[in-house]
Symmetry: C2
Subunit: 220 residues, 2 copies
């Protein structure tokens, strides 16, 4: 899996707006790594279910985190679970002269395949550490790792990244030439995730921020 | 449908963490209205597909916007499409003393049911206006409305809000009592969507901002 792109398949080839879709591995990874959470779709009794979940990418595997009580993860216990994992970052609102060309600037990854429950305790421990690191770099060393009971109560699914696509809309509105002289404002209203001031747990109101939390603030 | 809560069903009753789940209509509506986009799950050939889409709530109907070329909307043309629409707002990263209690503060709505294609042109026109208003209040009057060709090229799905739940995590980390004396920092790192400076279309670099765009900036 050292190719620079994910090979397109029938399911990842769009029927429209093909110019917005790509398969570049580094770009896919960047979107997965930037997002706080993903939306995981699976099928229960023939009907779709979509739930937000925490994820972390390790190489070309995407790991999903849940409780052993969660329905998706119980279903996956036997022979895996067919999932569609979608991650979307919103970059701006696109205001065109025409209502029709209103849009959103975004980057969205769709990864499809069969996710398997991670049964190996060493792999699970490594993934949980990666998950904590994905939340805040440096955090794994600043927390108590899972004990045996906690490890047993946590379920982790592994989805190998194989059928993956990235859809991106960027740039100014795409108005029809005939509309350019209309007296309507057009442009992009940028949106971004903003990092606020850390709120310590009540018992730690006067404690100094550790270096990894200060670094999170400074990178915001 | 004037009740204050959505009646719980088997599908919207959680098997765990019940204290985080609610059915309050106003709270559900507030989350749907605040979110820029939703994730729509549906089933294709027995497998899940999850795509980001724009949405707007009008009363107790949730409308989804797409192109007539989109696979989900073509599938819905006949007798509707079973969907799960999930909207998630991320409010913060929750850092606990233990890795196990790391979490995210969020508000997430899950709405399930059968979505139907809107065929009535008057309803479709009203929904498209509401969609533009949902992007930026006041915008519908500041843009050219859809002509017949654009209306025909736009597909809108209506999902009546019936099976709906809201899941919320809020507040400080929930560490085990035994962990409170560990030398690890704990607290919440707030996240919020930040509104940036409007970027006019290239032809409008020197045009003044219209009132509805200035109001969007001021409300950020």
């Amino acid at each position: 899996m050292s190719a620079d792109t994910y090979p397109p398949t029938d399911r990842t080839t769009p029927t429209r707006l093909r110019e917005r879709v790509g398969y570049d591995r580094a770009a896919v990874h960047a979107v997965l790594d930037e997002a706080t959470l993903c939306h995981v779709g699976f099928v229960v009794d023939g009907r779709p279910v979509v739930l937000p979940q925490l994820h972390v990418r390790v190489g070309d595997d995407l790991y999903l985190h849940g409780s052993t009580g969660a329905r998706s993860l119980r279903t996956a216990a036997d022979d895996g679970l067919e999932v569609c994992v979608t991650v979307t970052l919103v970059d701006g609102l696109v205001l065109a002269r025409s209502a029709f060309h209103h849009s959103v600037n975004y980057r969205s990854v769709v990864a499809q395949g069969r996710a398997a429950l991670v049964r190996d305790d060493a792999e699970k421990t490594a993934v949980l550490e990666a998950l904590v690191e994905a939340v805040v770099p440096g955090r794994a060393a600043g927390t108590r790792g899972p004990d045996r009971r906690e490890l047993a109560a946590t379920a982790v699914l592994r989805l190998p990244l194989r059928e993956v696509s990235l859809k991106v809309r960027t740039g100014p509105p795409g108005d029809d030439p005939d509309d350019l002289d209309l007296p309507h404002w057009a442009g992009v209203l940028p949106l971004a995730v903003h990092r606020g001031t850390p709120r310590p747990a009540p018992e730690l109101a006067d404690a100094p921020l550790p270096a990894h939390v200060q670094a999170w603030v400074d990178a915001g």
